[in-house]
């Protein structure tokens, strides 16, 4: 099923468009066309139609979340760097279990080491994570991890499992976490949750989104809490590690790249580790889990590419770090 930008749209254009259009609250620059009424849709079975609607909601939730992240952190608009990131990410994804899905990669202007997989294929990597990578294989493993989150619909399924009340509470928690100023808190208006039937009807009318029992804005707000505060279940993170490593290996990259990426982070960046472990299992455990996987895959027999040379050339042109 195709939801992404036209194939003629370059990856960096898609990513740049993503940044800009999300900031402006619009739709993708390269996908600004509203979903067209597809004659094929008419021929879908009720089950297929339901799945189709579900994917549309997933895209909306993810786009909303990506917009918030880009709005909060800002984006790196270096076209060449974005092109490279999208090239590597799309390449790894094409060796994943969901190659037909469209993934769009963008860079957050922040020096922490993190990456975010929003539903619908919006994957945002911090500049700090790019800097931390030593070679292309490490980057590919990180992107593979996020691609697995999207492909397996970890976040989206978790949101769907949440009850409306939980979603509202999560959104409230997110708000309280970001506002610790009682005077400003007084001025804080409610998070737009569309919890009422009237609101939901209006939102549905205005957005044309039929929905699948999930309020897009509420889900996005709760998803943000999950992304930045609570994190996904530990098991889902391990699964993403495993799948991501597999995708990278299938794509021809060096198998131990994810382990070296995590190990170096653990050794040198206590503060960054703490931030990452807020939403992910302990790095040590992740390394051990990946190590077990590599044993079962007999990874020592696999000769993969590290992509050192190419990555070094790209790294030379990285924007200068900003104080965070």
């Amino acid at each position: 099923m195709w939801f992404g930008p036209p194939r003629s749209c370059h990856a960096w254009q898609a990513a740049a468009g993503l940044s800009l259009s999300l900031l402006l609250g619009g739709s993708l620059a390269c996908t600004t066309k509203a979903p067209q009424a597809d004659p094929l849709e008419q021929k879908l079975t009720p089950e297929q139609k339901a799945a189709f609607e579900d994917y549309k909601v997933e895209m909306e939730v993810g786009r909303n979340m990506a917009g918030r992240l880009l709005g909060y952190y800002g984006s790196i608009d270096d076209a060449k760097l974005l092109g490279y990131l999208n090239q590597v990410g799309s390449y790894v994804a094409s060796y994943g279990d969901y190659p037909d899905r469209r993934y769009m990669f963008a860079i957050l202007k922040h020096e922490s080491v993190n990456a975010f997989a929003c539903p619908g294929g919006y994957i945002l990597v911090t500049m700090g994570a790019l800097r931390h990578a030593n070679n292309e294989a490490e980057l590919a493993a990180v992107l593979g991890h996020e691609v697995a989150h999207v492909g397996k619909r970890h976040m989206y399924d978790a949101l769907k499992r949440m009850k409306q009340k939980d979603i509202e509470e999560a959104a409230l928690k997110k708000r309280q976490a970001t506002e610790n100023d009682p005077i400003l808190q007084l001025r804080q208006r409610p998070e737009p949750l569309d919890s009422s039937a009237a609101g939901a009807r209006l939102a549905t009318y205005l957005t044309g989104k039929a929905g699948v029992g999930l309020s897009i804005m509420a889900a996005a707000a709760a998803g943000m809490n999950m992304l930045t505060e609570k994190g996904l279940d530990k098991e889902l993170e391990y699964e993403a590690d495993h799948e991501g490593v597999k995708y990278a290996i299938r794509a021809g990259y060096e198998p131990r790249a994810m382990i070296s990426f995590l190990k170096r982070l653990e050794e040198n960046n206590a503060k960054k580790v703490k931030n990452l472990e807020k939403t992910h299992p302990p790095i040590k455990e992740r390394r051990e889990q990946i190590g077990k996987l590599l044993l079962t895959l007999k990874a020592e027999d696999i000769i993969g590419a590290s992509g050192d040379e190419r990555f070094k050339k790209v790294k030379l042109k990285f924007p200068k770090p900003e104080a965070t």
């Binding site: 900031l23 009237a198 939102a203």
Partner: protein, 478 residues
């Protein structure tokens, strides 16, 4: 521009004449246009809140309490105004109408915590008044006193705007105290072009004591252009009080750099007989009209370099109560001081400057209520009082107690006091809020009553006026 040059000059009864007086644009009401996204819905009661880009207008001190960067714009998709002067033409009402569209506010706000903790900057472009009139009013055969007017025709075109463009900063000097400063460029520009025509059947007296049927025709052309430029510094302070209350004080003063009012006009009075009488008059022995068509042209060209004088100092006291996360109430009291040094020569009687202003106090209160987290309802009530003096019969200058003069060629006393209309208004807006943005739509209505002297004599007419606007606005939080 609300009060408009009108057909002053239909002298009731004996003669037919136009009186040209300066076009009085509506610098006499200070709440004609409400600016801002939330503020417009709350009746303009925003001095105690002012935490978005419109804070540069309401209270720069409120900027310091902004929650997020935002950019916002609003547009009056359509506005209309209808003012009825009761029985201005004998038993006939006269109606002034105008309509159009306007963009009252566009602005943005940027928090600068990364440079200085608690510092916020904002910019804004906004209109506090605007009008567009294209009115054609032909009226046939009506009675004024004992006189029948065969035809009156007025074509009036006017455009006017009062515009500000500026920037401001707010700084949170204490946890509960914000101060702010703004500086805006100011321009008021008003252009009126008006043609008036009137025809009255009369008996033209001859020297032998007889008379002959004829017409008296008046035609008047007028063009007036008022241009005022200046800057407006604004100081604001806002304090957060216990129990969710806030209070704010804003003081602003427009400093006029240049101003001018240019008037070019001419009035033609023509007396004519019809063809038959013309033949009789020219061939008969009783001919006493050497030329059956007599025209008199009066030019009215003038220029004033001080038409408006100073502009008033404004002090706004704002209060708000953040009762809960879903309910905010606000109250503003705005005071505008008097202007006494406007050019008196802009008045036909030369007794009261056309743009002189009395002190005015306006009140506004508003409420924002989130019916659901995504659907806030905003409503407000406000006054929009007139800075011109109340119209009083028998005087040409109420403040100075001067009686009407008879210096002009009318059989009745010529008073020509400006209109006085006090408005009460209400606003009702609903918004749809998304996580990073909101759009809102609603209506603002003002209704006013007052008195006028549209004929320039010592008759006084009742006036009722209503103005309304449908507005849209959008805010994007960044």
């Amino acid at each position: 521009m609300r009060d408009r040059f009108l057909l002053r000059g239909f002298a009731a009864g004996m003669s037919l004449a136009f009186i040209t007086v300066p076009a009085l644009a509506d610098q006499f009401h200070y709440s004609n246009v409400l600016v801002g996204t939330r503020a417009v819905g709350m009746g303009g009661a925003f001095g105690g809140i002012a935490d978005d880009a419109s804070g540069i207008y309401y209270n720069p001190g409120g900027l310091a309490f902004a929650l997020s960067n935002d950019i916002q714009g609003s547009a009056n998709a359509f506005y209309g105004k209808n003012t009825v002067y009761k029985k201005a033409l004998g038993d006939t009402d006269f109606t002034e109408q105008s309509s159009g569209s306007l963009t009252p506010f566009f602005g943005g706000l940027q928090k600068l915590d990364r440079y200085v903790d608690g510092l916020v900057a904002a910019f804004g472009v906004y209109y506090t008044d605007g009008d567009l009139k294209d009115q054609d009013t032909p009226i046939d055969s009506f009675q004024v006193g004992n006189t029948t007017i065969d035809r009156y025709h007025r074509t009036s075109n006017a455009r006017a705007s009062t515009y500000f463009a500026g920037a401001g900063v707010g700084y949170r000097v204490l946890n509960n105290l914000g101060i702010g400063f703004g500086l805006s460029y100011f321009n008021a520009d008003e252009l009126l072009q008006e043609f008036q025509y009137a025809k009255q059947e009369v008996m033209l007296p001859l020297t032998d004591g007889t008379s002959v049927e004829g017409w008296r025709i008046l035609a008047s052309n007028l063009r007036q252009h008022l241009a005022v430029y200046g800057v407006q510094p604004t100081l604001g302070i806002q304090v957060a009080l216990p129990a969710g209350f806030t209070a704010g004080l804003t003081v602003k003063k427009t400093i006029v750099a240049t101003q001018s009012l240019e008037t070019q006009g001419d009035t033609v009075v023509t007396k004519a007989t019809d063809a038959q009488n013309k033949a009789a008059v020219t061939s008969g022995s009783s001919s006493t009209i050497s030329n059956p068509i007599q025209s008199t042209v009066t030019k009215q060209d003038s220029k004033s370099t001080n038409p408006v004088g100073d502009l008033p100092l404004e002090a706004r006291l704002g209060m708000a109560w953040f009762a809960s996360s879903t309910m905010v109430w606000s109250l503003d009291i705005s005071y505008y001081d008097a202007v006494t040094n406007a050019d008196v020569s802009t008045d036909p009687n030369k007794v009261r400057a056309a743009y002189a202003k009395e002190a005015v106090t306006n009140y506004a209160t508003g409420m924002e209520w989130y019916m659901t987290p995504s659907l806030p309802l905003r409503f407000g009530l406000f006054t929009n009082n007139d800075a011109r003096p109340k119209v009083k019969k028998g005087t040409s200058n109420v403040a100075a107690g001067q009686t009407c003069t008879q210096s002009l060629d009318y059989y009745k006393k010529y008073c020509a006091q400006p209109d006085h209309i006090d408005y009460y208004g209400g606003s009702l807006f609903i918004a749809w809020v998304q996580p990073n943005s909101q759009i809102s739509a609603g209506i603002t209505v003002q209704t006013g009553t007052g008195k006028a002297q549209k004929l320039g004599d010592d008759l006084v007419q009742s006036v009722s006026s209503r103005q309304y606007s449908f507005a849209f606005s959008a805010t994007h939080n960044m």
